[in-house]
């Protein structure tokens, strides 16, 4: 091969790169490792896993039925590219079309796009879109119930824009956002950003929210959408992880982005639409690409290119396999498990901090026995996320989430907590 390209050796292929910029030494990187060595090396790094994990905070361990893994592992999905050549990608295009349909239905919106990176970036892109639609407005109101890391991402995206971000506090007793801003100021804002259920698990009821305000909603536990009425919003964003996607330390997952059809030209991300082929047969293709960076460049609605196709596929196959009633059953069992756990902890003298209704996640105060979570952790039982991580004033408060995985075991889990808790 070298001879046929007129090169005397491999080095000759690099003649266009001046010697002074070339590396003068070999790369210092471990390997090559044979497969067996590599697997053994990884095995040796592993620490014991927790036995029980009641952690949520935007990532939930729901059951992933075997067919989801099996179907999504097919190389035709895994090793294909973004469907720019629709004749070779009708499978992927149909998957996106179904994904868009599912997310529009779940959010109660008219249209949804083909996915974002995750819930945090989808929320930030939602606010950027609101800014394009409402370019005279200068203020964004953000609920303190928005996931702290979503808020950090939003702050980053808005950092170099001339906008004011005002935080709306949550009511200390109900845990719901206090929309104590005059209606006309809400209406004049870029957006009201609200997460429901919020970071503390509380379902927002929108009391005090102007019905004519432009709302960007976020949802970090999409399983709740199967049973809760969607929070009324102009743009609905959120995280798909609960639908068949392993937590994977928080990535990759997929974000969703849904809105009204009239706003379609300001949407970020890929859209798949229906058309016909030369024979008049139904077919699908990427559409309205004129919004996208590879055509519109600096005037694009977003810089997003590669998004999260395989995770959209997992979401879609999960929703199809479970069916509407299956997903609703999972959502109900998750919520009931949370109810049972909350009641049980409460009875042990660990009160629920907020009175607002919750779906599958809630905040518990462990002041009565602050060392209990630590003692349980040593036994591989992780009792929620310490809120002190983000909120200095919430010492001894923990955010606890349950799913259908815990549903059969709530009594046993409560018994274990009772055994290790200091008595009243």
């Amino acid at each position: 091969m070298l001879a046929s390209v007129g090169a005397k050796d491999m080095e000759a292929l690099l003649h266009s790169i001046p010697p002074e910029v070339r590396m003068k030494r070999p790369l210092q990187i471990e390997g090559p490792l044979p497969e067996s060595t590599l697997l053994r090396r990884l095995e040796a790094l592993k620490a014991p896993e927790p036995r029980v994990s009641l952690l949520g905070g935007g990532l939930y361990r729901h059951e992933i039925p075997t067919p989801v893994d099996a179907l999504c592992g097919r190389s035709e999905w895994v090793t294909s590219y973004t469907p720019y050549q629709p004749e070779l990608a009708q499978g992927t295009l149909m998957m996106y079309f179904e994904f868009q349909t599912y997310l529009a239905a779940l959010t109660g919106q008219e249209i949804a796009n083909g996915g974002m990176y995750d819930g945090s970036t989808a929320c930030a892109e939602g606010v950027l879109m609101a800014m394009r639609l409402r370019d005279k407005a200068r203020c964004v109101y953000v609920s303190a119930g928005l996931h702290p890391e979503y808020r950090e991402v939003l702050d980053t995206f808005l950092k170099f824009h001339d906008v004011e971000i005002v935080t709306l506090p949550i009511d200390p007793s109900t845990g719901k956002t206090q929309f104590n801003v005059a209606s006309d100021r809400q209406d004049a804002a870029i957006a009201m950003v609200v997460q429901s259920p919020n970071f503390f698990g509380v379902i927002e009821d929108g009391v005090g929210l102007s019905p004519t305000a432009f709302v960007v909603s976020a949802c970090a536990e999409a399983m709740s959408l199967a049973v809760l009425k969607p929070f009324p919003s102009s743009i609905a964003t959120g995280e798909c992880q609960s639908f068949g996607i392993p937590m994977q330390l928080g990535g990759p997952t997929a974000g969703f982005f849904a809105t009204r059809k009239e706003f379609v030209r300001q949407m970020p991300g890929r859209l798949v639409g229906k058309t016909i082929d030369a024979d008049g047969k139904d077919a699908l293709c990427i559409t309205l690409a004129t919004r996208e960076q590879f055509i519109r460049r600096e005037k694009a609605t977003s810089n997003i290119c590669t998004a999260s196709g395989l995770m959209c596929l997992r979401t879609t196959t999960y929703l199809s396999l479970m069916g509407r009633s299956g997903v609703q059953e999972i959502a109900i069992k998750s919520a009931k498990a949370a109810q049972a756990m909350a009641h049980g902890l409460s009875a042990l003298g660990f009160p629920i901090v907020f009175s607002g209704e919750y779906f599958n996640e809630f905040v518990v105060d462990f002041s009565r026995d602050p060392e209990l979570p630590k003692r349980l952790e040593e036994m591989g039982f992780l009792l929620g996320i310490p809120l002190e991580r983000w909120f200095a004033d919430r010492r001894n408060q923990r955010l606890i989430a349950l799913t259908e995985i815990h549903y059969p075991d709530v009594d046993r889990l409560l018994e274990e907590v009772r055994t290790h808790a200091r008595h009243h």
Binding site: P26, G31, E76, Y102, V264, T275, N303, L321, Q328
Partner: protein
């Protein structure tokens, strides 16, 4: 032979079917009442489908796709190389799949070690002082980089620097990212040999220049010969140099961008480091940067950070795949991968330059761009791309880079064996020959796919973006 097509899943469901169930019952839990009313709307025609129908539906759909495991996917600048199956196995290990970022660190020992080692490897291969693995994909890595540049300049009281220079060979994400950070983009034409000349950059350099964004090797597959001079000149006016790492597959062990004038660069783990493209993601876009930019990095401590780009750690599932790939090859293997990628691209160039038209005679690295200039009978790049499908190949990238009229951009990658390259060469030649002998056959291609050429204008005009029950019946 035309394959069958498959209806949307919603046409296979029925409310008579039960939903899939994976939990039993538990009376002591079921006795609790839910504190909310359950929504009972139709949810757009979503009902229940039998397991066998779901399995067949997604299996059939998958067969309508073309994928690397079926054949060569020579998309220029996309680096569609083989995705080793070992990586999929490791990423699917429950220890690495079902882990939560807020678990105490003692449970995440392996994860932290893998992330640290990956960051160290990326620093070594790129020559940058530090790495942030947080960005979600290449475009987000770019965005993090331009945010960092902006924050750095503002911290120096240089907020008036608002111009970002972008050569015409750039990916669209470059100007889009720059615009999202509030920069103005100024486009620079490449020189007559397909690389950016210092003399074409100098007239644009003034006190307003914040940065230049350069892909190197560029999207013509050409090494940017004036890169060091350009970097020096931009630095001299107080600007920074962003290097787009989309084409990093050509340069592993060849040169280190961090040592030759680049201040910050993104990686695409899904290009260079074999994490799968997955029909449009997920990607992963770590960035490398020099020490002066460290305080501004995503989630860096010290109060100067641009902040967070994405919730949690980044794309862990991609990190572990890239970690495996890097270790399976080792330093020498990575360098060899780049050399082989360059050899394969030059082999194709040599054997296709008589059949296709080469706009630049400049030597190229891992990819090569041809044009449709010599196609007979009014046939164009689009026709070529569609007809090559009938020979069992995915088409190359077309009409990019944008300054090459009718561009056909080919990147075979190092993982294509010579036999496959020869088959591709044969196919390209036969399509070009057929353009003379049977142009209509080419014009109407593809002929072997599940659907024929699409009316893409109609999709934008009608805008049907979701399945609807009545549309199916009509």
């Amino acid at each position: 032979m035309r394959a069958i097509t498959e209806p949307a899943i919603f046409e296979l469901g029925s409310d008579e079917n039960p939903g899939f169930s994976c939990v039993g019952t538990n009376p002591s839990v079921d006795k609790f009442n839910l504190p909310f009313a359950i929504r009972n709307d139709e949810m757009g025609g979503w009902s229940q489908v039998n397991e066998i129908d779901v399995v067949r539906h997604y299996t059939r759909l998958s067969t309508l796709n073309f994928d690397i495991n079926r054949g060569m996917y020579p998309l220029g600048s996309c680096t569609m190389k083989h995705n080793p199956l070992l990586n999929e196995r490791v990423a699917g290990d429950p220890h690495f799949a079902h882990c939560h970022p807020y678990w105490p660190a003692s449970f995440l020992k392996a994860h932290h070690e893998v992330m640290c080692e990956l960051a160290r490897d990326l620093a070594e291969v790129s020559g940058f002082d530090e790495i942030s693995i947080q960005p979600a994909a290449g475009a987000q890595g770019e965005l993090a980089a331009v945010f960092m540049i902006k924050a750095y300049l503002e911290s120096k009281g240089l907020g008036h620097k608002k111009t970002v220079l972008i050569p015409d060979t750039a990916h669209g994400t470059n100007p889009a990212s720059a615009a999202m950070a509030g920069f103005n983009c100024k486009h620079i034409a490449s020189g007559p040999d397909g690389w950016l000349r210092i003399e074409d950059v100098l007239p644009h350099l003034d006190d307003t220049v914040a940065a230049i964004m350069v892909t190197n090797p560029n999207t013509l597959g050409i090494y940017e010969r004036d890169f060091v001079k350009i970097a020096d000149a931009v630095h001299n006016v107080g600007g920074l140099v962003y290097m787009d790492g989309a084409n990093f597959n050509a340069i592993m062990g060849v040169f280190q961008p961090g040592k030759i004038g680049a201040d910050v660069m993104h990686f695409n783990l899904h290009k260079t480091f074999t994490t799968p493209h997955g029909g449009g993601g997920p990607g992963s876009g770590p960035i490398g940067f020099n020490r002066q930019l460290s305080p501004f990095a995503p989630s860096a401590p010290g109060g100067k950070s641009i902040g967070r780009m994405k919730a949690y750690f980044g794309q862990w599932g991609m990190f572990i795949r890239a970690w495996c790939y890097i270790r399976a090859l080792g330093g020498a293997g990575l360098h060899q991968a780049s050399l082989d990628a360059i050899l394969n691209a030059n082999y194709l160039r040599k054997h296709l330059e008589s059949a296709l038209s080469l706009p630049y005679s400049t030597s190229t690295l891992h990819e090569v761009v041809f044009t449709d200039k010599n196609f007979p009978n009014g046939l164009i790049t689009l026709d070529f791309a569609k007809r090559i499908i009938d020979h069992g190949f995915h088409p190359p990238t077309t009409y990019f880079p944008i300054m090459v009229k009718g561009a056909i951009m080919i990147e075979p990658t190092e993982t294509e064996p010579r036999r496959e390259l020869d088959r591709f060469i044969e196919a390209v030649r036969s399509v070009v020959e057929e353009m003379r002998t049977n142009p209509d056959m080419v014009k109407r291609a593809p002929h072997t796919t599940p659907v024929r050429r699409l009316d893409e204008t109609r999709a934008a005009r009608q805008l049907e973006l979701r399945w609807r029950p009545n549309a199916a019946k009509a």
